[in-house]
């Protein structure tokens, strides 16, 4: 069955980031033979004086395909891991969602979108999780991270929010690859322009530096590209910069 595992508020100014903890849990899902995890996505939530975030207020989420019999072991393990590894002063929250059991997935998506726009109370997050049958637990501090954890699951489920954690390593020739070769990467589903148009397989894309990063659009990991101005070598596109991806 497909699950979403989302965590939030595990760090402080000196610790590892929440993304690293999410990646570690994802790795352990695979290593323990519970299932197969996908990439981790980062989801921006509201920054507001009334919200006690460390520096950016983002949640981290990954999907996994697991055997149903492993669900409780996974939740227990992730809970213990967060309690043990979260930084001093943090307020970690864990959300584990069984996607096929959601009677109203749109309610979870709506909650995620709401948490990007307004201040949400812990009681609202807990009530929605109970209503939808979602595991939502606090593992230290005030437990405020349950809000972001639930929101992160909703935003991942929406399929249209967030950037993938990490950079992709894609083989190139003179820093250039075809769209077909880029799509062959396990963590890339599509290559599109910023306006949303997909590119043909034989089009050439210049991949700038080692900062190749995709975003989540239509439930896919998409490499966004922009036109290259004034080239005579047939290269019409290049990957977006960090700054261009900031809003995702």
């Amino acid at each position: 069955m497909r699950i979403l595992i989302s965590i939030d508020d595990t760090d402080n100014l000196e610790s590892r980031g929440t993304g690293d903890l999410a990646s570690e849990i994802a790795r352990e899902v695979n290593d323990k033979g519970w299932g197969e995890s996908s990439y981790v996505t980062r989801h921006q939530l509201l920054v507001h004086p009334d919200i006690p975030y460390t520096s950016h207020n983002s949640a981290m989420c990954f999907a996994a395909e697991i055997d149903e019999s492993c669900l409780e072991s996974l939740i227990d393990h992730a809970s213990a891991y967060l309690a043990r590894e979260s930084a001093a002063g943090s307020d970690p929250g864990l959300c584990v969602t069984v996607v096929d059991r959601l009677a109203t997935p749109e309610a979870l998506v709506a909650f995620g979108r709401k948490a990007k726009q307004s201040v949400v109370a812990m009681t609202e997050a807990s009530a929605l999780a109970a209503q939808l049958g979602i595991h939502l637990s606090a593992h230290g501090g005030s437990g405020q991270g349950i809000i972001g954890a639930l929101a992160g699951a909703g935003l991942r489920l929406s399929g249209n929010d967030g950037r993938l954690k990490g950079h992709l390593s894609i083989a190139t020739t003179d820093d250039t690859a075809t769209v077909r070769d880029i799509r062959a990467h396990a963590d890339v589903d599509d290559v599109r322009t910023l306006e949303g148009s997909p590119l043909a397989g034989d089009e050439l894309v210049r991949l700038r530096g080692d900062k190749v990063k995709t975003v989540l659009i239509d439930g896919k990991s998409v490499l966004l590209v922009v036109p290259v101005a004034g080239t005579a070598d047939g290269i019409a596109w290049q990957n977006c910069t960090k700054q261009q991806l900031r809003s995702y």
Binding site: L13, H48, P49, Y53, S55, N57, K165
Partner: protein, 65 residues
């Protein structure tokens, strides 16, 4: 380049889109420390926008260094 906000924090006056300004400030700063990869947003590696000690606000960020 800096303002003191109502909470007494040092707020970046350039907002959240002054990429050259944030890079200039970071170049002058001895406390700069890069944030984790997924939280970096500026193309210049050394930028206040990429620093672990910046705390984003709706319009800009405050420096916690």
């Amino acid at each position: 380049m800096w303002q003191i906000n109502q909470r007494g924090e040092r707020a970046f006056a350039g907002g959240n889109e002054d990429w050259p300004g944030a890079a200039r400030m970071a170049a002058l700063c001895t406390a700069f420390h890069p944030d984790v990869e997924e939280e970096q947003v500026a193309d210049e590696a050394r930028s206040c926008y990429n620093c672990r000690y910046r705390r984003w606000t709706a319009a800009s960020f405050v420096c916690g260094a």
